[in-house]
Amino acid sequence: EPEVTQTPSHQVTQMGQEVILRCVPISNHLYFYWYRQILGQKVEFLVSFYNNEISEKSEIFDDQFSVERPDGSNFTLKIRSTKLEDSAMYFCASSEGLRARTYNSPLHFGNGTRLTVT
């Protein structure tokens, strides 16, 4: 079964540094997402991306964050100047973006990148 892959699995960075988290969504999917989970908290929506532009973003996704689909396969999340509170597990997800009322197009998540900001 096709899957969403994320690299690296763990990223350690110093406060103020830029990080880029990488994802390869499922190839025939049209919508791409980033979610994050701070340790012990719930999974939170960051941003959705469709047709080469941001479809929706949360209040968490401020000017320090950006997303890009640089080629036909990769989808990246960049944090320009990391803060301690950015430490979290970041999940990439993708979906077909097609839905009937029966709903058979669930979000497929990658295994996440654990970002540690020191």
């Binding site: 029966t102 998540f109 990658g110």
Partner: protein, 116 residues
């Protein structure tokens, strides 16, 4: 703003018995509700969903019930198996005008432990 709540952080069930996981929501505009299962060091895996126009959806050992008037849904797993031990997240989204966009609002999760 906890629009989706799972009030039980953990649940232990004997193997072979029924596991019932509960979820409450406050936003009556949600169109779809989903359950995800998560193992350590893995991403959430989709289990089952239900549209707001239905009150029950069944898939093998998993059944989701939706009570719209109470803004409550539950996931029933029967019979429970040791491999079901994981964290279960309830999630919901509103379709709105952004068709195809699945901005999920998650609950905080319930850790289910199946006792052999």
């Amino acid at each position: 703003d906890q629009q989706v709540k799972q009030n039980s952080p953990s649940l232990s069930v004997q193997e072979g018995r029924i596991s019932i996981l509960n979820c409450d929501y406050t936003n009556s505009m949600f169109d779809y509700f989903l359950w995800y299962k998560k193992y350590p060091a893995e991403g959430p895996t989709f289990l089952i969903s239900i549209s707001s126009i239905k009150d029950k959806n069944e898939d093998g050992r998993f059944t989701v019930f939706l009570n719209k008037s109470a803004k409550h849904l539950s996931l029933h797993i029967v019979p429970s198996q040791p491999g079901d031990s994981a964290v279960y997240f309830c999630a919901a989204f509103r379709e709105g005008s952004n068709f195809g966009n699945e901005k999920l609002t998650f609950g905080t999760g319930t850790r289910l432990t199946i006792i052999p």
